[in-house]
């Protein structure tokens, strides 16, 4: 291949470059600066993340292009998901100062790890090749393994980190084997080229492609924590420091969904392909439908029995993964993208409050610890009530709009998905019970002894405000996000056919 064919367009990976360089600089600052110099860590991270967001927006006019020999795809799927990832990272970074202060942990590496994780997530969103998908996934995973165990002396954090690491690499190996078999079966690792091979019916080893697709489904299923591959989720979410749980439940999930869409909805999205291509398409649609149904039902029913806030939110995130998969089954990215945005905002907000109320070492995370605090700390309790109502899908919150849009798209897209929508609606009704429970405890129970009002730093307050405003804004004006998602969808498909 000639160098001119490589198309080394560095501007197209500017977001990834900014976060990676910022991560390295943060480590250097931490190593060389005096005590006072370390205070700039959070500010520096926020500035670089905002710069990353600006870089993503600046790439918008150049949408629907590829660079680095097809390794990077710069389409609207990438831009939208990258923007959501950056918003998640900004909110998490704002919350981090409070967490690191409360726990008296060394701040430097945390911000650096956060930037490296963000780099990996952005790479996942922009990947146009299986190699890039794997690289992005591992970059973000390795950084988050460390973050899960950041409270080094805490046994629970240790255990959470170890479990996350072992099961994360185990699932990555499955994903990788799936990629290897897909490469062998089609003779290419480029996702767009794979689709063309499928459409042309030129698959070299048909059986191998089916096995490869199944293994990749397992790998992705693990990473998005959907049933039946969710077993690590509750343990890891409970044991990790609450802030890290917030990060694990949002950013990486959004990014993995972007890659998942790219590989399955685009690469394997060949419904009318001859022979094995069409068979693969039918198979993964069926498998995902079953995964979505199990995920929603299992997540919601087990969440009913939880008395620990973090575990409850972990099971709720499994259920939300199920709802998102319904949007996925329409093979368009708009429902998934919008649902992930609303879920990320509410989830970050809810975890932020859990973290503020938890005290040092996450001591107070049982729901009973929240008894009667409703009017003691009205700013936190009303916000938590808002997020709980949002996750239950009650208007006028973003959660309602997210669910509504996913269900509506799935209902309209295919009659085969209607049974799933009905299961999802029944599940949403069940879920209201456990989302309302913390609200009842907060406002209608006598106050628990020994409650100390949490002290909010300015940055944490800003993070909380962003999530509250976002939850209400996208509930009242969903079109602002949907316009971006919908009008671009046809253009993205056009370019795929052109190539």
């Amino acid at each position: 291949m000639q160098f001119s064919n490589l198309n080394l367009d560095y501007f197209s990976i500017l977001p990834e470059i900014i976060t990676a360089v910022a991560g390295v600089l943060l480590m250097l600052i931490d190593a060389f600066a005096k005590k006072g110099g370390r205070k700039i860590g959070p500010i520096f991270s926020i500035v670089s993340l905002v710069a990353t967001g600006v870089a993503i927006v600046a790439l918008w006019p150049r949408a629907n292009s590829t660079s680095f020999a097809g390794m990077i795809v710069n389409d609207h799927l990438r831009l939208y998901f990258a923007l959501v990832v950056v918003v998640c990272s900004i909110i998490a970074t704002l919350m981090a100062s409070q967490f690191l202060d409360d726990e008296a942990l060394p701040p430097g590496e945390f911000y650096a790890l956060m930037m490296f994780a963000t780099t990996g997530m952005l790479m996942m969103a922009s990947a146009g090749d299986l190699v890039m998908v794997f690289l992005g996934l591992e970059t973000s995973s390795i950084a988050t393994y460390v973050m899960a165990g950041y409270r080094r002396t805490d046994l629970r954090a240790n255990e959470s980190s170890l479990k996350y690491f072992l099961l994360g690499s185990f699932s990555a190996a499955f994903l990788l084997y799936g990629m290897a078999l897909t490469y062998g079966a089609t003779g290419t690792t480029n996702i767009e080229a794979i689709r063309q091979v499928l459409m042309a019916g030129k698959v070299i080893y048909p059986q191998m492609l089916l096995v490869g697709g199944a293994m990749m489904l397992v790998g992705f299923g693990f990473k998005i924590a959907t049933a039946p591959f969710h077993l690590w989720t509750p343990d890891v979410y409970e044991g990790a420091p609450t802030l890290v749980t917030a990060i694990l439940a949002t950013g990486p999930k959004v990014a993995v969904f972007a890659s998942f869409l790219r590989v399955f909805a685009e690469g394997f999205g060949a419904p009318n392909a001859p022979d094995v291509g069409g068979q693969l398409h039918d198979n993964w649609i069926q498998a995902l439908a079953i995964m979505a149904a199990i995920g929603m039902t299992f997540g919601n029913i087990v969440a009913l029995a939880q008395r620990n806030m973090k575990r409850m939110l972990a099971y709720s995130s499994i259920a939300h993964g199920g709802y998102t998969l319904i949007g996925f089954l329409t093979t368009e990215y708009a429902p998934v993208g919008f649902y992930m945005l609303t879920y990320a905002l509410m989830s970050l907000g809810a975890f932020a409050i859990v973290q503020m109320l938890a005290r040092q070492g996450d001591a107070k995370t049982e729901i009973s610890d929240y008894a009667g605090i409703g009017f003691e700390v009205p700013n936190l309790s009303f916000a938590l009530a808002l997020f709980m109502l949002g996750m239950a899908g009650i208007p006028p919150t973003a959660g309602f709009m997210g669910k509504f849009y996913v269900f509506k798209s799935a209902w309209a897209s295919s009659p085969n998905l209607r049974w799933l929508v009905i299961i999802a609606i029944v599940n949403s009704i069940i879920s209201v019970y456990y989302y309302l429970y913390p609200i009842v405890v907060m406002f209608f129970r006598p106050q628990a002894e020994g409650f100390i009002k949490p002290r909010l730093t300015a940055m944490a307050q800003v993070a909380l405000d962003i999530t509250i405003i976002g939850t209400l804004y996208f509930g009242l004006f969903p079109n602002s996000a949907l316009r971006i998602l919908q009008q671009k969808a046809p253009a993205a498909q056009q370019i795929a056919i052109q190539k």
Binding site: Y145, R156, S161
Partner: protein, 100 residues
């Protein structure tokens, strides 16, 4: 020449041994070694395909997998050390503070 299917059978066997090891072993280090075995069996698959398709893509993929596996090993061993410092054991049966 050795046919492609032999390489694939060998790497599938190694991958299966790795999966079985992860499920059966009780020592964290052994589990970790089994995961490395899984990754390396994938490398074998990639190399075999690369050779038989007359392409370099698979070999490049292997380099990236090796780099990632090295980074993962560094982080993984660090996590294992910090667990060992706090607990003085490496058996996963003892890792049971968090229950389903």
């Amino acid at each position: 020449m050795v046919p492609l299917s032999w390489y694939l059978a060998l790497s599938a066997a190694l991958f299966t041994i790795g999966v079985a090891g992860v499920l059966v072993q009780r020592n964290v280090i052994s589990i970790f070694m089994c995961i490395e075995l899984m990754l390396n069996s994938v490398n074998l698959t990639l190399i075999a395909f690369s050779r038989f398709l007359n392409q370099s893509t698979g070999q490049l993929f292997v380099f990236i997998v090796m780099a990632v596996a090295a980074a993962e090993a560094a982080v993984g061993l660090a996590i294992i050390i910090s667990v060992f410092r706090n607990r003085e054991t490496l058996s996963v049966d003892e890792e049971s503070l968090l229950k389903l």
